[in-house]
């Protein structure tokens, strides 16, 4: 089921980095049959074996690699202390133990980028989910005498609350009189973000920051927070908007034993790094 076409991509969850790397090797490359290749031209598929051989037995495997730490991530209001210190420890280790060069980089206005992501995604989703109208497939139910009746019933009863909320917000963002303020503004922010990343990556090879400002929510907390929970995506959203490769790894646990996520973001097509 398509959600937000310009942002949807395959996101494997694996037990180890090498497993994820194996999946990447399988997925990467041109797709001739279904023509779902995202870019024309020859782009090399990273060879995991080659990378592993390079790193074998190397005491300072990250030597020569410039890692940018996104400083605004550590200034986020919703960032928990435990997450901050776990990630800081990891970056320190990368520098002292593994030989990387750590620099501070600036990725401005994370909140606005997060809002742009949501407006963009929800707008596209409102259109992608429009096809579920009970006309060609789906349970029509008794008394569905017209498309209006059938789709009203299906869309109110079969779509969950969160989905309906997103469709409504997305439709609103695109509507006449509001599209400039919301959809078009979100797209402008998205375009500028690509340029911003270009500049950042001229000085570093990869970026690092926490994956999420907190550890996992307790069951039911997400709905209690309502739309505010969208803000907790502010660290993962930039890579999505710019189409950059990113990976999230555990880098420790909090007092309650919940895992803390470390995010590494690469430049376009640089999954190898």
């Amino acid at each position: 089921i398509a959600y937000a076409s310009s942002l949807d991509c395959i996101g494997p969850i694996a037990r180890s980095v090498s497993d994820a790397a194996i999946l990447l090797e399988v997925m990467a490359g041109a797709d001739v049959r279904f023509d779902s290749t995202s870019e024309e031209g020859q782009i090399a598929v990273p060879s995991i074996k080659a990378i592993q051989n390079q790193l074998k037995g190397n005491k300072t495997p990250l030597k020569g690699l410039r890692i940018g730490v996104i400083k605004e991530a550590f200034q986020a209001k919703n960032l928990s202390n435990e997450v901050a210190s776990a990630v800081k420890e990891s970056t320190d280790a990368m520098e002292r133990k593994l030989g990387a060069e750590i620099v501070d980089v600036s990725l401005t206005d994370l909140k606005a980028k997060c809002a742009a992501y949501y407006i963009n995604a929800l707008s596209e989703a409102s259109a992608n989910l429009a096809r579920y109208d009970g006309v060609r497939y789906g349970k029509r139910g008794v008394g569905s005498t017209s498309m209006k009746v059938a789709s009203r019933r299906i869309r109110s009863e079969e779509f969950g609350d969160e989905v309906r909320q997103r469709i409504l917000v997305g439709t609103f963002s695109l509507s006449a009189g509001y599209s400039d303020k919301y959809y078009n503004k979100a797209m402008a922010i998205r375009r500028n973000l690509s340029q911003e990343f270009k500049k950042i990556f001229s000085g570093v090879d990869v970026l690092v920051c926490p994956s999420s400002p907190t550890t996992a929510y307790k069951l039911g907390d997400y709905f209690k927070k309502g739309v505010k929970s969208y803000e907790d995506d502010l660290l993962t959203v930039p890579a999505s908007l710019a189409g950059l490769p990113a990976i999230s790894l555990p880098c420790g646990t909090d007092q309650a034993g919940m895992p803390i996520g470390l995010q590494i973001i690469g430049n376009k097509w640089r999954e190898d790094q």
Binding site: I1, A2, A4, S5, S6, F34, D35, S36, S123, E124, A127, A130, R131, Y132, D133, V135, R136, Y137, M147, S151, T171, L174, S175, A176, S179, Y183
Partner: protein, 463 residues
């Protein structure tokens, strides 16, 4: 004007793009049915035909291709949005030369997909309309068929011009092979937007959209009817509402379909499933060079090179196959005016009464040319040619025209001595008429000539 482009497959999937009203839902797939997870893939041929049409309409061609989503809910729209082009149409700013003078500006030409075909059933008014119907059947064969939408500038000022514009567009589309422009089958649909204003005023008033125009005659009549309807309203001090009206071709009136206060909100946004792509100038140049001669160019050329009458030119150039046949025949060396006369006369008569197409003619351009040249060189007469024509047309004779003439012994007799013997025979048999002629009835000369000709089995040279 919406035209279906002549591609093998649909606009965004590989389903066959066919008119098959008797096998509903036989050319469908998850993409054109709007099933979950289906993704559109743009069809190269659609872009080529749309660009070629735009070029034939003298449009400026965009250097990039961008699609947009037009969002609205309706049963004939499987995704509940249409993939179309909004702010970057492939063609813009063109013109069409009308055959009898006058120009119509083309505002834009863009690519989009057709909707499914709905048949409303069991309505009291058996017109198959939505109102009063109990249920609707939907055929998705049509959903996803590629369309070009062509919007003209408000340059047309009468029903006649509107019909002419439609006809010329149909001619152009058929010439370049972009569409078969068949109104009865729905591969060409015209909607007319009409507004009127006072002489000398520049401001455009509310326009009314006319739909359900199934022939050029309906285009003409509905437009003229609407002009009068609006004039009457203004004269009575009323205002013209912006609305859509359906033309009733039997009653020759239009009925209101829906009121359009302001524009609908389609929430246009760029189609995220189809990334924008560049349209290289070299590709467009190549397509332009592949365009055949256009109707307006042919009309001018026929006038300048062959000196034919406007009426003849109009018919000869209306159908590309006929004009090709004409040109081939002339190329074999016969006089264009004669070719035109025979083609538009006896040959057309044969084509029409036998309900065939030009391309089905067994008489080849080479043979027709030979026939005409034989008349010119006085090997046969026009009358003899007319006698030979049926056999040449139905292809029952295999050889050249000269061979046919010889076989039937139909050579023209020009020897005066021989003709004189025929004449004497006639005079001998009609002594009473001879006396009448001698006493003043000089018109009888025609009678004698006719009789002489008859005696010779039409083989004597009338001159």
């Amino acid at each position: 004007i919406h035209v279906q482009l002549l591609t093998n497959s649909k606009a965004y999937c590989s389903c066959k793009s066919l008119y098959a009203p008797n096998e509903p839902n036989s050319n469908v797939c998850p993409v054109c049915m709007g099933e979950p997870g289906a993704l559109p893939v743009p069809n190269r041929k659609v872009i080529e035909l749309a660009a070629k049409t735009a070029l034939a309409l003298n449009c400026k061609i965009s250097d990039s291709l961008k699609w947009d989503r037009k969002n609205y809910f309706y049963p004939d729209t499987p995704k509940n949005y249409q993939i179309t082009q909004y702010d970057n149409p492939i063609g813009s700013n063109g013109t069409v030369q009308l055959p009898f003078g006058g120009k119509v500006g083309i505002q834009r030409l863009h690519m989009e997909e057709d909707s499914a075909k709905m048949n409303h059933q069991n309505s009291e008014s058996s017109s198959g309309s939505l109102s009063g119907s109990l249920y609707s059947l939907i055929d998705f064969n049509r959903a996803g068929i590629p369309l070009a939408e062509i919007v003209s500038e408000p340059d047309i000022t009468s029903g006649l011009s509107a019909a002419e514009y439609g006809k010329e567009l149909q001619r152009i589309l058929r010439y370049i092979g972009a569409s078969d422009g068949n109104m009865a089958e729905g591969s060409m649909r015209l909607d007319v937007n009409v507004s009127i204003r006072e002489k000398g005023s520049n401001e455009l008033r509310n326009k009314v959209e006319l739909k359900n125009l199934n022939s050029f005659r309906a285009v003409q009549e509905s437009t003229d009817h609407e002009i009068i309807r609006q004039a009457k309203l203004y004269e009575e001090g009323q205002r013209v509402r912006q609305e859509t009206r359906l033309w009733d071709d039997k009653a020759k009136v239009s009925k209101i379909m829906r009121v359009k206060e302001g524009e609908s909100d389609y929430r246009y946004f760029p189609e995220p499933d189809i990334p924008a792509m560049k349209l290289p100038k070299e590709v467009v140049k190549k397509w332009k060079s592949e365009l055949s001669e256009l109707p307006s160019e042919k009309r001018s050329r026929y006038k300048a090179e062959f000196g034919l009458s406007d009426a003849d030119i109009e018919i000869l150039t209306d159908d590309k196959d006929l004009s090709s046949y004409f040109e081939s025949t002339v190329e074999f060396g016969s006089d264009p005016k004669e070719v035109s006369k025979w083609l538009l006369g006896d040959v057309s008569g044969y084509i029409n009464s036998n309900r065939i197409q030009v391309k089905d003619l067994r008489l080849t351009p080479e043979r027709l040319s030979e026939l005409i040249v034989l008349i010119k060189s006085k090997k046969i007469s026009g009358k003899i040619a007319k006698e030979l024509l049926p056999e040449l047309l139905n292809g029952s004779f295999d050889g050249t025209v000269a061979e046919l003439v010889r076989e039937k012994g139909m050579e023209l007799i020009t020897d005066e001595k021989v003709i004189e013997t025929f004449a004497r025979e006639v005079i001998g048999k009609n002594s009473n008429k001879v006396s009448e002629y001698r006493s003043g009835k000089t018109k009888l000369l025609g009678f004698f000539a006719g009789q002489t000709l008859a005696v010779s089995n039409n083989r004597a040279d009338p001159e």
